[in-house]
Amino acid sequence: MNSQKLIISAALLATLPLAANIAAAAERAQRAVQATNFSLGLVASDSDTKDSTSNGTFGLAGIGTMPIGDLFGASLAGSYSRSTARTSDVLFDVASQSSSRQTCRFNNSDAVVSVFARKPTLGRISASYGKGNVTSDCGDQSVFVSTGDDSMGIDYYRLGAEAYLGNFTFGAVHTSTEPENGAKLESDIFSASWYPLESLKVTLSGGDLYDQDTYGIEIEHQPEFMGESLGVALGYSVIDRDQRIGTINFSVVFHFGTKVELKTRDRQYR
């Protein structure tokens, strides 16, 4: 599997200079980020693990992106989310005089700063650093393995590359995550996006998340009636293992000021 990924990565990255030469002449006027822009959205997901607990997540996310010259851009993003595990899936319902079934909650907050170089006609390469914290509240005993308490800090680094080919975008992201006092986690995700419409994107993704195969599909759309300011996305992803984890994602994002079609937003604003 690793050799497959290397081949795919190499193939995707090899397309960048080729595409650059083809399209550079025609699109020289376009900048990496056309204008500083902000987006704020609500995110929700429901994750279900076979024969174990399921949990629902609801959160808030925001991002600001700004140009740095013609070729570069930077973004600062932050998010907060809360997940609630449905312990009723594993704690049978017992008639209780004095006790109730305990619940399990996770709170996550993180911030990430990214810098990137982009040619809107070719693609983008990016580097990111993020810092997060996740806390848990599960009954009277809930600890993170690496810290031994109910809180864990996270640092992560991410390198990504995207190639724009007509109505397709191919991407590869490598993420190195370092949980507090824990072992480093490496993951690679590859994606292919297709714009059947200028305001509709279908993304397929696959990769390894800590040695576990993952697949996902997501549809993102900017309805015209909101003046291209609102984006909605619905996705489903799977972590493929004996106890398969299926996750449904849904998000609604409002883009302040920039009323552009989705494809344009992805390649010239985000």
Binding site: S52, I189, Y215
Partner: protein, 550 residues
């Protein structure tokens, strides 16, 4: 056709469609078979544990531990539990294992019964590349079962007569927590039993049994193992006491208490004897009554505990345990908040071993009584003001009748009933002013005699009357006979009170049974459980008299 509001559908070039499928196939090819499953697994050393406690007052069973082993990709381990069986759960991490300790609930906190619980151990993994979301890995569940046995507290009366079938009250806790399917006295099954609605007592009928001590056993479906019990029904052969006169100590001016200890064949009195009121014991052995032993501890009344293991006695302000054989007093417990100029007057003990205390003034007036709980040592006011009330407890300890008032009152005052089940006093429909004759009631309170004159049934319906020359009265255990000391007749008269005389006077059965000597004044009477012997005690002496065979 529109996919989304305001969106136009465009035709796809065929080449792009093909490219899309190829891309999908390429990504799907990344799959390597889902390796690394063990890295997310959580396993546990056992999936079921059980606890048991011998009763609701038993100590909590020792906590039990299980070991959880989890994979290297687990970043967070949660341990949650549910169910009354579990008080708390704790865990200690050590590398890729966690020692999970499950603490059962305290039996007194949840009471008797079969309880369940569950502990779920879930290892959570990062659900995305930056670990901003967690997703559950596998969950290992431990089911917990916890049996807290019902407890058998007492049987009343605890001394019964051999060769005779009758009914006793077995007190306990949690008798409804399991389905009681049978009651046994030793190995002999009860012929009938019923459990009361709050599961604190059952009424069981035993067959005729030979003399001996019989442990009271409860059988219950759904209960694993024998329900613990150390409560014994003591079955004794009738004792043929001959008539005798036992003199009080010199200087005795009045008798306050007369108790017959059927287990040990002894009589216990409390008398007004200068310089301080002694408690006196007469032991019967080898066909004769021994010389009395006594302890001068200044008492006003005494009663045997529900299992006869001790006496509860009172002085003017406190309750104290007294050894029923040696008469050695224990540590006294003061009654709280006694009204000014009031003092403790009488004590009776129910089959729950709690004592009902009445209080008195030197003059006419209302003072509230108390309930004394020996295990906790608490004497609590019962909130009911009574006027110099005199209680008498039934032989089965199920309840007491209290008459009150004095001749100075110009109107009658209610007779009260005390329920051992609820430890509450309620007024009856009968009112009177008590005289010097204490109430008499039979073993299961189907007959009550008040003021030595009025005969009632268990619902306090007046059945008939006895002569007003009755100075003391005691009833046969089944309530069919009243044995009255009649001052005019100078001896014992027997009345058939099983019949309803429509409030008319009862006629004595047979001739008067004279006593061996004059008992004096202020009489108290007692009867043996086999109904074969009467005891009449007064200010002068204590008389033993075989019951007239009428």
């Amino acid at each position: 056709m529109r996919l989304f509001l305001g969106e136009k559908v465009h035709y796809l070039p065929g080449a792009r469609r093909v490219a899309g499928f190829l891309l999908f196939g390429l990504l799907a090819g990344c799959g390597g078979g889902g390796g690394g499953d063990s890295a997310t697994q959580t396993q546990i050393s056992t999936n079921a544990i059980s606890f048991s406690a011998s009763g609701p007052s038993a100590a909590a069973p020792a906590a039990q531990s299980v070991t959880a082993t989890f994979g290297k990709d687990v970043v967070q381990l949660s341990v949650v539990h549910s169910g009354d069986a579990i008080a708390s759960v704790s865990s200690v991490m050590n590398g890729q294992t966690a020692e999970i300790t499950i603490v059962p609930a305290t039996p007194s906190a949840i009471g008797p019964g079969a309880f369940v619980g569950a502990v779920a151990v879930t290892g959570y993994n990062c659900a995305d590349t930056t670990c901003s979301r967690l997703a559950a890995g596998s969950t290992a569940t431990v089911s917990v079962s916890y049996q807290i046995s019902p407890s058998v507290l007492s049987v009343a009366p605890y001394v019964v007569t051999s060769g005779v079938s009758d009914t006793v009250i077995v007190r306990g806790l949690g008798l409804l927590a399991f389905n009681i399917s049978g009651v046994r006295f030793g190995d002999t099954a009860a012929t009938a039993f019923t459990v009361n609605s709050n599961g604190t007592e059952l009424s069981a009928t035993y067959p005729a049994l030979p003399a001996g001590d019989y442990t009271v056993h409860l059988d219950a479906t759904g209960h694993t193992g024998e329900i613990p019990s150390s409560v014994a029904l003591k079955v004794r052969d009738p004792v043929a006491y001959t008539a005798a006169a036992l003199d009080h100590a010199p200087g005795t001016t009045a008798l306050r208490t007369l108790v017959y200890d059927a287990e040990r064949q002894a009589l216990i009195t409390v008398t007004d004897t200068a310089p301080t009121n002694p408690i006196v014991r007469y032991q019967y052995a080898n066909g004769a009554w021994s010389a009395p032993t006594q302890a001068a501890v200044g008492l006003l009344d005494a009663a045997l505990s529900a299992d006869g293991s001790q006496l509860f006695a009172i002085n003017q302000t406190a309750v104290m345990p007294v050894d029923p054989v040696t008469l050695a007093p224990g540590t006294s417990i003061a009654a709280p908040s006694l009204a000014e100029n009031s003092f403790l007057k009488n004590i009776v003990v129910g089959n729950d071993n709690r004592s009902l205390l009445t209080t008195s003034l030197t003059t006419s007036g209302l003072t509230q009584g108390y309930v004394y709980d020996p295990p906790s040592g608490v004497i609590a006011p019962n909130g009911i003001g009574l006027n110099n009330a005199t209680p008498v407890m039934s032989a089965n300890g199920a309840g007491a009748v209290l008459s009150q008032g004095d001749p100075t009152l110009t109107s009658d005052v209610p007779v009260y009933l005390y329920s051992t089940t609820s430890n509450q006093l309620t007024s009856s429909a009968v009112s009177l002013r008590q005289n010097g004759v204490v109430p008499a009631l039979n073993r299961s309170i189907t007959r009550v005699v008040l003021n030595g004159i009025r005969v009632y049934d268990g619902s306090f319906a007046l059945l008939g009357t006895l002569p007003d020359t009755t100075a003391a009265v005691v009833l046969k255990s089944d309530g069919t006979r009243a044995y009255a000391y009649d001052t005019a007749a100078g001896g014992i008269l027997v009345y058939d009170i099983s019949v309803d005389r429509d409030e008319a006077a009862y006629t004595a059965l047979g001739p008067v049974q004279p006593l061996a000597a004059d008992p004096g004044t202020g009489l108290r009477m007692a009867i043996t459980p086999d109904n074969g012997t009467l005891f009449v005690a007064g200010s002068t002496r204590l008389l033993v008299q075989p019951t007239p065979a009428l």
